[in-house]
């Protein structure tokens, strides 16, 4: 089986400061990988580097493209990379307003990716948008409302619909449940899990919330100071952490 994403020795520096370094892993179709670590550990830098938002100083990020199999997205041309990022890739931001157009209706937000890949039939675009609002549990009569009038959880679900409408194969998520109420988080987690399974999505989720990765991620990487200090099966890393930092992280979580 070909990995969907093959990350090899990725390094990103900010001047002399390490953003992240020496990161390698394979992600297979349908797999969900969690990346945990505290603020400044390099997990967001890594995610943005993998997603093509930052250019790594070293290493390769190979993606199994539909046309040509594994291609290094770091060295591919920018138009190709941007095309990937609005077709086969998706990026869910922590703050929905970074991932949504706040002055465009919900339907327009969902439809944008369709129009970006050439959809030119208003009726069909609207029907697809309406279907997706339903799938992320937003009432279809909100289709012409702007996201500014939505609650935080709704905005986040709208962002997810906007990202998944083109049927991507890989989703990058940066703290997707951050800043949401616990009950809203649960709903979102449930939604994400179902979508991941129904669509056979692979996902890379950055979070500092260990409960989130336990429920969503098959595998886990723990980052500290730009390095991956431990990785493995999610429940194994959480229940039998080997590295001192991971042990500290796990033991620091308040049990409810």
């Amino acid at each position: 089986m070909t990995p969907l994403l093959q990350v090899e020795d990725i390094a990103k520096y900010y001047g002399t400061r390490i953003g992240c370094t020496g990161v390698s892993f394979d992600l297979y179709p349908g797999e969900v990988m969690g990346i945990v670590g505290e603020s400044g550990s390099g997990k967001s830098t890594l995610l943005n580097t993998l997603a093509g938002h930052l250019t790594p100083d070293r290493g390769a990020v190979r993606f199994d493209t539909r046309a040509d199999g594994l291609r290094d997205t770091v060295t591919m041309s920018e138009p190709e990379r941007r095309m990937l990022s609005r077709t086969d890739w998706a990026f869910v931001h922590q703050h929905a307003r970074d991932g949504l157009r706040m002055n465009v209706s919900a339907g327009g937000n969902v439809g944008e990716r369709l129009m970006a890949v050439g959809a030119r039939h208003y009726g069909k675009i609207r029907a697809t948008a309406s279907d997706w609002l339903g799938r992320v549990e937003i009432n279809e009569d909100r289709i012409d409302d702007r996201p500014a009038s939505f609650s935080g959880g709704m905005q986040q679900r709208l962002q997810i619909a906007r990202n998944l409408v083109t049927g991507p194969r890989l989703v990058f998520m940066d703290e997707p449940t951050g800043g949401l109420d616990v009950s809203v988080q649960a709903r979102l987690l449930d939604l994400l899990r179902n979508l991941v399974r129904e669509m056979g999505l692979s996902a890379i989720i950055v979070t500092h919330d260990l409960a989130v990765v336990r429920l969503l991620a098959d595998r886990l990487m723990v980052m500290k100071d730009g390095h991956v200090v431990e990785s493995g099966l999610t429940d194994q890393v959480l229940d039998d952490p080997q590295h001192g930092y991971t042990q500290l992280l796990v033991s620091s979580v308040l049990q409810v």
Binding site: E31, D190, R219, G232, Q236, D239, D240, Q242, H243
Partner: protein
């Protein structure tokens, strides 16, 4: 189906002066198809540890743990995930689910994960929930709000939804009343009859005697506790 050979395990507590706590050495176990083996030994002897090592939940420091053709002690996460999805089931004492998911879907999930249709998976889930006397009015609710005993039964239903060839059972009959206990034991017998290899921890001695073919006392693998 399960062959554990000379395994050892220790915990290193990096944040408490890097204390190394050896918890197992020379662990041996073998379970054939259709066989049920009980792990025994005092509390803290390492019954759960061994079971978690077989499941891949704990890392194994040395030795081999063959489940079918896969050495869990050396397998990649992806291989273990595939093994857990298709071959290796685990009924733990605790139910860990996404808070909002309906009980019916929690139980149906293992079948969905191996590609069964939603209808088929839910039918099987209904059958098991009914068998385990979970009132139908609770099926659409999340089990997170259930009593301990109800959660335990949901967990069992989930563990038996897919006919795993290998099953790990951690106290499956604890906190069950007589009727439900009998149902669980019947489920275990059924699984044995279709060739499932089972490793279990049973504090319930009568249950143990009724369904287990052998007992393995893990105390002899416990460093400093050898009987």
């Amino acid at each position: 189906m399960i062959r554990v050979e000379n395994v050892s395990k220790s915990f290193t507590l990096h944040n408490q002066g890097a204390v190394v706590i050896p918890v197992m050495s020379g662990g041996e176990l073998s379970v054939a198809k259709g066989e049920c083996v009980a792990l025994t030994g005092a509390s803290g002897a390492g019954k759960s540890t061994l079971m978690r090592m077989i499941y891949g939940n704990y890392l194994t420091a040395a030795g081999r743990i063959m489940v079918g053709d896969l050495d869990v002690a050396r397998a990649s996460p992806r291989e273990i995930l595939m093994l857990r999805r298709h071959v290796l089931g685990y009924v733990s004492q605790f139910l860990r689910v996404v808070p909002r998911v309906a009980t019916l879907d929690v139980v149906a999930e293992p079948l969905r994960a191996v590609g069964r249709s939603e209808a088929e998976a839910r039918d099987r889930a209904r059958e098991l929930l009914a068998q385990l006397n979970i009132p139908e009015r609770l099926w659409q609710l999340s089990p997170t709000t259930f009593s301990g005993g109800e959660q335990q039964r949901v967990n069992i239903a989930r563990g038996f939804a897919h006919p795993y060839p290998v099953l790990l059972l951690d106290e499956p009959t604890a906190s069950l009343d007589a009727t439900n206990r009998a149902t669980v034991l019947a489920l275990i017998e059924e699984a044995k009859a279709r060739g499932t290899a089972i490793v279990g921890i049973f504090h319930d001695e009568a249950a143990r005697e009724q369904i287990c073919d052998r007992e393995v006392d893990v105390t002899r693998f416990t460093p400093g506790m050898a009987a």
